[in-house]
Symmetry: C2
Subunit: 258 residues, 2 copies
């Protein structure tokens, strides 16, 4: 008989976040779950890891088919700790991160802690998927995404993912989703608007704020476009960031040292 | 008359690190420099950004052709602050990060603060290059890299870089470098060895340690190979992580919600 899938979960909003609680509920029927998530919010942590302070790994609860741990580390630290300390006999069959409170389309893959964890799992040979809902609110309604998340999870368990690849899934925050689109990462960036304030003791300090700017709003094959149109977007992504085209071009550059 | 190039610099070892001091010395003849670097070491910060605390931006020194600022932010924050607050009239012509104390080959592009800053500058349309020396020591000898760094910088100023592209340069820590190789990112990963210790107040804590494992030591076109053979490695890298091959494959997956 085939073994029940072993599923590792994490996120960057902390183990108490409604997003991961919802993900746990959706995925429990599909396998045995081990959750290792930050003890509190670590948004914008990217693939950061902790090198100067020690990490903890504390069990929160354990019942049949579901163990939950928290750590003071980043999302990447959580994945590293989990794979190193909790899976001696058997590697997880799949890793899911999220559901993030807020979308992670376009270049967010470079900043997001949710996706930092996904990249880390993928690097360790575990098929990995990040889920994000386009609503930052703590009271976001994850309900409409339930069947889609389950179906995506089933497909990943069935097909697997090629080595060094992972999926970035974004879900619109609307009551009725239109379906799924396989997309490419939109070109865009955050346009910063630092809020500069005078410090009571002299000098200034700056709050980082900003808005995302879509640099190709008319392209219909991007994750940004799909999300705005009411579709669940999936961007198949890869760890190898080499630009093979620029690698060819640069053969004509001059690197002679006289 | 053509304007003197305007060059932005940062790193993840802090503005006092010998690596960035050396980079400043090497690049001063090429243009006017503005340095915005973390106030202390922020290694392993990836593309993390600071969302819950305010940032500062403090001028350290200013002379003709060289301004130095420090910030309590991450390397990415430093680049964001610099581009937003210091370049109102004219965007920098190029961005350089480093020289990092320690190599950043293979998948280090996902973890490194040095390269997080490079990705950030690239996202903002500034041609960006990260330099790393394969020696973690504070007393590392950056000397032999001088002519290579200058030549690479000149070539980037001459050719520019396509939008959404950046360069990851690694330098062997040897007295005589063999030349430059344009490479692809090696497949590999860090194999963690957490050092687990008993906490004096009960429970355990973990120190993250580990070693890099090259998953394709026989491939001769990787950055890891070039570095080990005594060459300066350059990996042309791109912001778009979409896997266009997996995007095709996944068209056959079943996303029907019954």
């Amino acid at each position: 008989m085939k073994k029940r899938p072993l599923i590792l979960l994490s996120n960057d909003d902390g183990f108490r976040a409604p997003g991961i609680q919802f993900l746990i509920d959706v995925l429990r029927p599909l396998g045995d779950l081990v959750v290792v998530a930050p003890q509190s919010g670590r948004s914008g942590m990217s693939a950061a890891l902790t090198v100067v302070t020690p990490l903890d790994l504390v069990i929160v609860s354990k019942e049949k088919g579901l163990s939950i741990y928290r750590s003071n580390g980043t999302p990447v630290d959580c994945v590293k700790l989990a794979l190193n300390q909790l899976f001696e006999d058997r590697k997880p069959d799949v890793f899911f991160s999220g559901i993030n409170h807020g979308s992670n389309v376009s270049v967010a893959i470079h900043y997001s802690g949710t996706l930092g964890a996904v990249i880390e799992a993928s690097l360790n040979g575990v098929p990995a998927v990040g889920f994000s809902l386009d609503d930052h609110s703590i009271n976001a309604d994850f309900g409409p995404s339930c069947l889609y998340i389950k179906q995506i999870a089933k497909q990943v368990l069935e097909h697997g993912l090629p080595e060094g690849h992972c999926l970035n899934v974004n879900i619109p925050a609307i009551p009725v989703l239109k379906g799924v689109k396989i997309c490419r990462q939109a070109r865009g960036r955050w346009v910063e608007e630092f809020d500069k304030r005078e410090h009571p003791n002299g000098g200034f300090y700056y709050w980082l704020t900003g808005n995302f700017r879509d640099d190709e709003p008319l392209s219909q094959d991007t994750d940004m476009y799909a999300l705005n149109e009411g579709y669940v977007s999936i961007v198949p992504s890869k760890i190898d960031m080499t630009s093979y085209s620029l690698k060819e071009t640069m053969k004509d550059w001059n690197f002679n040292i006289k």
